[in-house]
Each structure stands twice: as structure tokens, then as C-alpha cells.
Amino acid sequence: MGNRSPIIVTENLTKHYGPVVAVQDLNLEIYEGEVFGLLGPNGAGKTTTILMLLGLTEPTSGRALVAGLDPTRNALAVKRLVGYLPDNVGFYDDLTAKENLLYTGRLNQIPEAELEQRIKTALEQVGLADHGDRKVREFSRGMRQRLGIADLIVKDPRIFILDEPTLGIDPEGVRELLDLIVRLSREKGKTILISSHLLHQIQQICDRVGIFVAGRLLAVGPLDTLGRQVMAGKPLEIELQVEPFNHDLLEVFRSLEGVDRVESQGPYIRLRCAKGKDIRPQLTGLLAERKVSILHLRARGHDLDDIYLEYFQGEGRI
């Protein structure tokens, strides 16, 4: 990312709703062309942050810059650059999918002749080409979400902001949607900001993530460094599934040097190492000697779920 310049910058961005703190001193840099995941539980202030980036809500203090423009002063210019897919997007039910897209296209001053073509391509890209003339009333949740993406593709902004895009869609739909988002980023070089509380869905496609809890940004970075940051100074936990399993194994693990605690949980065995120790190298040899094969081995703390959980526990909430 070194050679890229930040396209979205926030400086001590703060928003209070009366006594309620929605966002506190947010400092964030998002670079051109990256997929950035803003992760946090519901009510963490993600949507508020997005609304401030769009100039739809004024910050209490601090400021945001989108492509060098302040959204509160240059709202129109910013809105031309940014496409926004709101959380649980809505459409005019009485209009057809095409008419809905036409309306947004016209609001964006796209010339009529070009608009037709863009709508056709966009509907094809999201797989709704056959449903363009149906009323949106008949659309399922997933179809609406895809229509929302088509809406953005028609607008063709530099920055896509997607608020909870995968919420309420079935797994297959989620996969297609994420594919689409990745394509937008990789093929067209769009900057994409996704807010979500569904970690494992988002972690597959994000270049960097920011963890956002109770209005504060707790950590930012690529997933692996984030994991290291969080787990630094914390004992390593190993999750293990073996075949064949017998309870003697637990005793063997317990007797290993550097193992603090062993417990079995369902099909899994959990080993907690002493601080600074990693027994994984010994483990494989040990099990191979006993003709026990490893079905599953995972060092906890290196994917988003653990990082997320760790942070919430740190904040005293889940």
C-alpha cells in the first residue's frame, strides 16, 4: 500500500447524539483501490461514520476528507464520488427494477442514451438481467441487495461504501455478492469500504480491517498483523482434533512441558501453552509416534473471530 495515497481520511472524527457517544476520535486512513472492512457489533457507530463520510450527518467535532473534499462543505462533490448502499437497502416497490435504476441514474445526471446501456450491463453483472422489468415488490431480500449493487454500478463511483451488504442473504447469495465486490475492486480498481458485524464473511475479501467497538476504533491493519497484535503477550491456544481419540492422550498432553491446561470440548482438545511457548512442533512428532493422525489443528487468535472476541472481552462486552 506504500505507494498509494489515502482517499478517505478522518481526523478525530467525533459524533455525539446528545449524551450518547456514537463515534469518538476516529482516525482512519483508507487507501485508493483497497477493500477495507469496518467491523464491529451493532450499534458500534459504523453507520454513523458512513453517514458522516457522505455528509448526511454533521460531525460534532473533527473532520473527514474524501478525496481531499470535506463532506460537510462539498457534499455534492463527495456524493458524486461515493456510491452508498445503505443497510437493508430499499427501493420503490411500485416501480420496476429498471425504473428504480433509471431514477438514480437521472439523479446522477447520466445522459439518457448511456444510461440505458449502463443499466443493462449492471443488471447483467448482478445476475438480474431477466428481472429488470419486474416490480421490485416481488423481489427477495437477496435480489434487492443485488439490485442495490447494480444501482451503484450504474452510478460508477470511485468509492463504494457498503453497509452490512451480506445481512439476511443465504450463503450462496453471500458468496456471489462477495465475488462481485472483489471483482469491482480487482478489475476496476474501486475503493471499497464494507461495514459489517459478520466477520468470517468479510474477512475473506478485505485487504485491511478496522475493529470498531462502542464508537472507538480499537485496531486497524491487515488481518495477520492484527492477529499478532492482539495475541501478543497472550498464551497460545491450540485447538486439536485427532483420530483415534482416547482419554490417555489428554494425560500425555498434560505431561508435556510448556502446556498449562488441557481440556476436551466436544470432538476438540484444547491446549493452552505457557506464555511465550509454542508446542506445535513437538506435537506432530508426538502424535505420529503413537499412530494418531491429526484431523484438525488451529492456533486460536489468528482469525477474525478470535481477534474480535478478544477485543470485546477487553472492552467488557460481547
Binding site: 448526511l56 461515493v82 452508498y84 445503505p86 443497510d87 437497502v89 437521472r106 439523479l107
Partner: protein
Amino acid sequence: MKEWQAKLKEFINWWREAFSSSGGLKVIFLKELADNLSSTRMGILFSLVAVACLSALYVAAQSIRQSVGQEGTSFVFLRLFTTSGGSLPPFISFLSFLGPLLGLALGFDAINGEYNKRTLSRLLAQPIYRDDVINGKFLAGIAVLAIMIATLGLLVAGLGLVFIGVPPRGEEIGRMLAYLIVSIIYVAFWLSVSLLFSLLFRQAATSALAGIAVWLFFAIFAPMLAGIIADGLFPVTDESPPELVLRNAVWKQNLSRLSPTTLYDEATLYLLNPGIRTLGPVLIQQVIGAIPGFLPLSQSLLLIWPHLVGLIAGTLIIFALAYYYFMRQEIRTS
């Protein structure tokens, strides 16, 4: 030299950005217009009003045919609007009573509907000014109301011609057009009321009910209330001095003029009855020496000038409130 040029350029750019139209107003206006005109709700309401008004016209035409021999043909065309026959009230009463319903129906879910459909945040994220949304909706509403009222008025005029066979004179046409314009302003007032309610209440049903409550209050209870207050301030008995009676009457009238419905009713009465010179209390000595006759249109317009200004001001004040509220409102989807 260079510096001030750069500054000038910057200023011009700023000016352009700040004052040029985003083009959003026109797009929103056209979309709202199409929505309103094609909606079932409008179809039902317009049919209701049209049926009521046309039956009033028919009855009026019948009774004019019978009475035209005794009353002469002066302003017979305007009498189409004001004559009641049998059990049916005249056209103007129908329009005065049902017109507000048209205005309320167009606006009661204008903004909260967008909230509930979750389209508002998507709409406002487009490169348009925020006020384009509320202006576009208001203007589209007025356009639809104007179309409907003009249609009704001209329909009545045309059918009236067929029924009574007396062509209108220029002044009668002028009075009728003035009447239609005042009617449009009046329903625009109710449109702005319903627009305000659609901002104040998140539920469309609540805002519709609030609108209907205000409408019924002004149409039915406000005149009664004015009477009660005036009687309370200046109790009148049979032996009261004339001064007190007069004061009571003036207060009663002025209080009831706080209601836009009264303003509209009085304005239309003046417009469609050229013989009416005043609706307030008249003393005998004021009438002595007066020659009964018809007022020219300009004089009638002069009489309703305060009413007109009051109606327009009321519409604008309420729209300004809605505008202010809309611009200040937080856009939260959930």
C-alpha cells in the same frame, strides 16, 4: 495580478457549486408527478370529488333552469357553482369540504414513506441538494392538485354550458379562474400541512389521522369555537346595547378567520357572488343610500386580498416549518 485572478476563479467555482442547480429537483419533480398521477389513491379520491361536484352541478343546473325566469340571467354562469338544489349542497361547498382531503392524501406519507421504504438514505446519497427532495415533492403535489382542480372547474364550466345554454361573459370567466386559483392555494395549504405531518410522525397512518383531525377541526369546530370565545368575552342578551352586539359579531368573525377554511369560504363567496359587498355586520346607516348592484371583479379581488395573503402566508409558513425540520433531521435508517 495572478493572485487575484486565482482568487476570482476560486470564487466563481464556489459560486457555481453553491448556487447552480444540481438537476435533482427536476428529476424528483417528474418522478413524484408520475407517481401521484398513477397512484390508486389519487384515482379514488379524484373520482369521489368529481362525482360529488358533478352531481352538485347537475342539481344546480336543474334549479337554475326553473328559476332563471324570475331571477334574470345576470351571472347565471357563476350560479352553477353556488346554487344548491334540493338536498345537495353547491359545488363550492363540496370543493371546500373535500379539497383538503386531496391535499392531505397527496402529502401524508411523502417523507415518512421514504423512511419506511428505506429509500431516503439512498436518495440523499445521490448528488442532489437535500432540499431538492422536499421541494420536488411539494411542487409535484401542487402540480397534481392544480391539474385536478383545473380539470374539475373546466369540466363543470363546459357541462354547465351544455345544461343551461347561456355563454359566460368575460368577467364570469375571470371570476371562475380566480376561484380556481384560490382553490389551488387552499389545497396547497393542506398539502403543506400533510407534508409537515409526514415529517413529524414516522407512521403514515398517524400522520394521515393527524391531518384529518386538523382538517375536521378547522372545517367544523373552529367556527363553533370562535362563537364560544366571542360569547364568553362579550356575552350578548336580548337587551344588550348594540355596541356590544356589534363587538361580539366582529370578534366572532375575526376569530373564525384564523381558520384557513373560513378564509377560503369567504374568499370564494366574494368571488362567485358579485353582489356580496361585505360579510361582516352592516349597520343600517351604512346601507342608506347604497345602490344595490354588482361589484366589478377588481373590487371583489380587493375585498379578498387579505384572505388571499393569509392563505398564501399560512401555506408558506407551514412549508417553511416542514423545510426547516427536514433539513435539520438526522438521517438514520434504523
